[in-house]
């Protein structure tokens, strides 16, 4: 009986147009839209790229050349340096091919940049970097010149101290994860897919209750125990929902090339548990009250979208705002919990916070399922 019911639960779900639309097509379309909309935002606003500069030398300066070579090498080069004459450098600056010109005359360094338009921008940041470098270079040169002139025996200590100063500014990453802020939109997209699975759970409740649907009444009249049909339907819906989550995550990761970090398998896991949460949430909603299936479906969808809104699907900083004014809400908002689990997975190297979020999701799933069972357990009704 269990397998019989499970088989037909599968068939119904995979043939339901609403499922194909909301759980498969919608995340694909919205994910693609996100990819197009966010494409390049991270690279242009967050990822550091070498600052293009021109160097105009007045005579040979081997120390400066050595410093510039060091700063222009490797994947994390600070400058992209081109040695040229003053006229060519000015032309390049006017054509915005470079962000500034370094003039080297003996031990002295001077800088030319063009005023950055508008407020803070990537260009103004580049100019600040050039200016900071120039000031630091001049300061170090002055220190070394003074030391050579006044205390030559301490020159090695001074050079060593200046080197340590540089080491203090080394970039130490907090995590190996992807820092792209736009990822939160994809996390919320996965959370939304998980919660839209509530429609599946809702149908289980409605089609199990004699006072909510004719099919429910027919099932209630059969000798098959309600618990058997409900559990098999839950298993069927959760399986279908898991497949939808896998499709959504796979599409984002492999087709849109969204970088979920090195723990993709755990993204699948978190998404699937989120899917269980969505189904159980719908089951609970479907069990409450006497409204028809369409009204309940509208309520579940609206509730899912509201949860996703406060989790940041429509406005990226919404979760931070909620966190400031009502932090408790983020702890009980299913969408926020699902997206947080994905965030923890990417941002933290250990699984402690991720596990906390997964446990929260499982507790919510159990609570919603118990509510659903409690309300659908009735076999006789006061009115139909």
């Amino acid at each position: 009986m269990f397998l019989h019911n499970l088989k037909y639960e599968f068939l119904q779900n995979i043939r339901a147009k609403s499922l194909i639309l909301w759980l498969i097509l919608f995340p694909i379309i919205l994910g693609t839209f996100f990819k197009i909309a966010f494409s390049g935002i991270y690279e242009s606003t967050t990822v550091f790229s070498a600052v293009p500069i021109a160097v105009v030398e007045d005579g040979d300066n081997s120390v400066f050349r050595e410093v510039m070579t060091t700063l222009s090498e490797g994947d994390d080069a600070l400058f992209e340096t081109e040695y040229t004459n003053e006229d060519a450098a000015m032309e390049m600056l006017e054509a915005k091919k470079i962000s500034g010109i370094l003039y080297v005359a003996g031990e002295k360094l001077s800088i030319t940049v063009t005023p950055a338009e508008g407020g803070p921008s990537a260009e103004s940041i580049r100019q600040t970097i050039i200016k900071s470098f120039g000031e630091q270079y001049n300061a170090h040169c002055n220190i070394i010149a003074d030391t050579v002139a006044n205390s030559p025996e301490k020159i090695s200590d001074v050079v060593s101290a200046l080197s340590e100063d540089i080491k203090c500014n080394e970039n130490i990453p907090l995590t190996n994860g992807n820092h792209d802020n736009m990822l939160s939109y994809y996390y919320n997209l996965i959370a939304m897919v998980a919660l839209l699975g509530s429609d599946l759970g809702l149908n289980i409740a409605v089609s199990s209750q004699g006072n909510l649907s004719a099919i429910g009444a027919r099932k209630c009249c059969s000798p098959t125990k309600k618990l058997v049909t409900i559990i098999s339907s839950m298993v069927g819906c959760i399986t279908v929902q898991t497949v939808c989550i896998i499709i959504a995550v796979s599409f984002l990761a492999f087709v849109l090339k969204v970088d979920f970090g090195s723990k993709l398998h755990m993204v699948y896991l978190a998404g699937s548990i989120g899917g269980m949460l969505g189904v159980s949430f719908g089951f609970a909603i479907g069990s409450i009250g006497r409204l028809g299936v369409n009204a309940k479906s509208a309520i579940a969808t609206a509730f899912s979208l509201i949860c996703c809104f406060f989790s940041g699907l429509m406005a990226g900083n919404m979760k931070a705002i909620v966190s400031t004014y009502a932090p408790w809400f983020n702890e009980i908002n299913p969408a926020a919990v699902i997206s947080d689990s994905l965030y923890c997975l990417n941002f933290y190297d250990d699984y402690e916070r991720f596990t906390q979020k997964i446990v929260t999701m499982l507790i919510m799933t159990v609570v919603f399922t118990i509510i659903g069972f409690f309300l659908t357990r009735r076999r006789k009704y006061a009115s139909l």
């Binding site: 037909y8 099932k219 059969s222 000798p223 076999r379 009115s383 139909l384």
Partner: protein
């Protein structure tokens, strides 16, 4: 004596201040096609829902197959087939899948189920539509699918709650023929309807309900014998003088005359040749008249005479 399949005693069901069933008593024997006839809101569906243990009730008892009916009386449920007023099928499953699904709630064995499903398809003549989805079926075919889902497990007791609502006459006839065939194959049938012609056509015994009460019970002949009227003569006539109308009312066996909207209606109780006597009076008075009908009493007349209102008014 046939075995009692359903026994309802003193059943009372209230919806707050409204009494939906008022001390209802019914006894249905094996092999009967038992009709529950009454206008909308008379308590037919409430009776069925209480019978199926879907509805709670305030007082009384229900026994099916000799045992108290309860939600966990799975043995009784196994032998009951239910065809609801609303079509209860899954839109995402084909005709054959729907029948198999509902049959599977009663029969575990796959091969046995397969045969039952096939029999149900043949019985409802849905062979050409087994791979159709319900949305592609006409209203009549959908009703037949609804019936197939309810009877596929070969129940001993089949309950049909207004199965012909919104069905075209051709499909209605097929459904009624099917019900008679199921009865011939041994099933006891409970049939609710507010269409008296259907009930007259197929039911061996009938209970007429109104306002939650059983107002009459018996075979259709027994019910008709309960009332005064034995024949109603209707004549299409443009006008009729009062003295002629008075003369008609004094004829033997005539107990009621009425003229309204060009139609003369004369009701008789017993006697023979009532029609001839009435037409003679009209001819002697040199009145011209159109079509003439002589009708035997219907269940509507029974209902009208007992309750003072027409059964059809509620359609």
């Amino acid at each position: 004596m046939a075995e009692t399949i359903v026994k309802i005693e003193n059943l009372v069901k209230r919806y707050k201040d409204l009494i939906a069933l008022d001390h209802l008593n019914l006894e249905i024997k094996q092999g009967e096609v038992f009709g529950l006839l009454g206008p909308n809101g008379s308590g037919k569906s409430t009776t069925i829902n209480c019978l199926l243990s879907l509805l709670t009730f305030d007082k009384g008892s229900i026994e099916i197959f000799g045992k108290k009916m309860a939600p966990d009386n799975y043995e009784a449920k196994r032998n009951i087939g239910i065809i609801m007023q609303n079509v209860a099928v899954f839109d995402e499953l084909t005709v054959i899948e729907n029948i198999d699904y509902f049959c599977g709630l009663y029969i575990k064995d796959k091969s046995e189920r397969k045969k039952c499903v096939q029999d149900a398809i043949e019985f409802t003549e849905l062979q050409d539509f087994i791979h159709f989805y319900p949305k592609k079926l006409s209203g009549g075919l959908l009703r037949r699918l609804n019936i197939a889902c309810g009877i596929a497990h070969k129940p001993k007791l089949i309950i049909l709650d207004e199965p012909t609502v919104a069905v075209d006459p051709q499909s209605r006839n097929k459904i009624l023929e099917g019900i008679q065939k199921l009865n011939e194959e041994g099933a006891t049938i409970i049939y609710t309807s507010h269409y008296m012609e259907e009930v007259e056509q197929i039911c061996t015994r009938i209970a007429i309900m109104d306002k939650g009460k059983k107002i009459a019970e018996g075979t259709k002949d027994e019910l008709k014998k309960m009332i005064k009227n034995t024949e109603t003569v209707s004549v299409e006539i443009s006008e009729i003088p009062d003295d002629i109308l008075e003369k008609l009312s004094t004829l033997p066996h005539v107990y009621s005359t009425d003229f309204n909207n060009g139609k003369l209606e004369v009701k008789c109780s017993g006697g023979k040749h009532n029609l001839i006597r009435i037409l003679n009076v009209l001819q002697e008075s040199d009145l011209h008249f159109g079509r003439v009908f002589s009708e035997l009493p219907t269940l509507n007349d029974v209902f009208l005479e007992i309750t003072g209102k027409a059964l059809r008014d509620s359609d």
